[in-house]
Amino acid sequence: MSNLQQNIISIKNLFKSFGNLFSRKLVLKNINLDILKGEVFGLIGPNGAGKTTLMGCMLGLLKIDSGEILINGRSPLNIEIKRNIGYLPERIGFYKTMTGKEFLIFQGKLFGLPNPVLKKRVDALLRELELKDVANCKIRIYSRGMLQRLSWAQALIHNPDILFLDEPAAGMDPSGIIRVRNLILQLKKEGKTIFLNSHKLSEVEKVCDRIAFIDKGEIIHIETLRRDHLIYKIEYSETKKEFITLDMPLIHGLEIYQINNSFIKIKVENERALFSFLKHLLNKGVKITEVIKEKVDIEKFFLD
């Protein structure tokens, strides 16, 4: 994580509402987020939670009521900042009279790419995203999956450092979803910072370093996903939960995740931390009945 420490996106006390002078609905409430350079940050939540609105605010497409959004220390509307941002929208509208290739060339020119560079980028992206065969066809004949891939291509045309992906695998078949997953992981390897919205928990889990849960316009939890983390459920005979944690020594790499009078769930970085915790329980005279290793399950986090 040593190269991930620089803060690249910072959101402070963000509020956003929609409506008119007489009636307004608050859709984002006091959002605070810091996204680090090179990380893949996922925003998940139910439909209507405010995911796309938050992304719209971060891109400057939506005006905020109060608060601050800074990308590399500057406003998202700053021209130099925009030069480094790629955006994949959720709902895809295209200039349907253009061909796929013409569309990509137009997008590249808007980023100010010189012709030789643009030509290479367009050819490479059409090949990588398997659009070469339909590159000279009008966009209106493209399938939903092709449109999604074309949208990916326009987001990557200028090789940006920061990517905003709104439901990146929407409308794709299973092989398309795997392709998107691999693409995100490849971009992560290249050092890109990625902010993505999704409601597909299983997909987010596979690519994100951290995820934020958003509901009714509020960030309710931010979780760091460490794939090397282990979760253990330790069951014991009826014991008051306060007694379990009383006089507990500081154990490095251990986090209590759920506790009640009959079991405790802990998240540990390694088994040494588990053994230290078990030793603590035995020293206190707690009767352990079972230790169960559980899979890290983002869906459980979400439901909890």
Binding site: F18, T52, T53, G56, L59, G60, L61, L62, K63, L77, I79, E80, K82, R83, I85, Y87, P89, E90, R91, I92, G93, F94, Y95, T97, F106, Q107, K109, L110, F111, G112, Q154
Partner: protein, 237 residues
């Protein structure tokens, strides 16, 4: 202004069936002169105004409702540049229509009766000034109305103002200040008073030109203000 957006709008518009249809229609207008049917240059401009009413609507509204505007607004281009580039793209389309038709018209007139070139230039300037104003007005409505709501709003706006003007002119006798105020506002917004050729004749060229410019800026900058201050998210379509 961004040349790529201007070119995109221009090429898209001149390839549209409505533009090609009008172009052929204007050609027909000119050909009939050879059969000794008198056509005034005004007819050509009337055709241009009509085409403007088909070409300009949806200039922003359609992009906002389809979501393509997001592709433009997330690029490293100032929003004001996006706005003016799109308006200029439409203006260029109409300019090309006028130039080509006026050239063909002038040529045919010259072949038939030796028409004086200066008459055509005055007609051309008059047409361009009016088209520019018309485009700016429809663009203004397009910044906040969806799809083709702008043209509907423009027609209602024009009819409403004309109606109020006629009522105040015919029925409202007093107070005089109210009658004059209503009429001034309407004259200002709609520019009903004079054509360019009349500007030259009445000796108040600067005043007329100033009024025209103020009217044009009112709609252009008003549209820009709305364009820059509105939201472009999913809930706003």
């Amino acid at each position: 202004m961004n040349k790529y957006i201007v070119i995109k709008v221009f090429t898209e518009k001149i390839k549209s069936p409505i533009y090609i249809g009008f172009f052929i229609g204007a050609g027909g207008f000119i050909i009939v002169q050879f059969f000794e049917i008198v056509i005034s240059p005004k007819k050509i401009f009337d055709l241009a105004f009509l085409l403007t009413l088909f070409i300009t609507p949806g200039i922003f509204g359609k992009e906002i409702s389809s979501g393509t505007i997001q592709f433009l607004l997330t690029k490293p281009i100032k929003w004001s540049s996006v706005y003016f580039s799109k308006v200029f793209g439409v203006w260029l389309t109409m300019f090309s229509f006028l130039i080509f038709t006026i050239f063909l018209f002038g040529l045919s007139q010259f072949l038939l009766s030796g028409l004086k070139a200066e008459n055509l230039i005055i007609f051309l300037i008059d047409g361009l000034l009016k088209l520019t104003l018309l485009i700016s007005m429809i663009s203004f409505f397009s910044t906040f109305l969806p799809d083709y709501g702008d043209i509907v709003a423009f027609i209602i706006f024009a009819l409403l103002l004309s109606g109020i003007y006629e009522i105040s002119h015919t029925f409202l006798k007093s107070p005089v200040w109210l009658k004059n105020s209503i009429e001034s506002i309407i004259l200002f917004l709609m520019g009903k008073e004079k054509s360019f050729s009349a500007w030259l004749q009445d000796g108040n060229f600067l005043k007329n030109f100033g009024l025209y410019l103020a009217r044009l800026l009112f709609f252009l900058l008003g549209g820009l203000f709305i364009f820059k201050s509105r939201d472009y998210g999913y809930g706003q379509r």
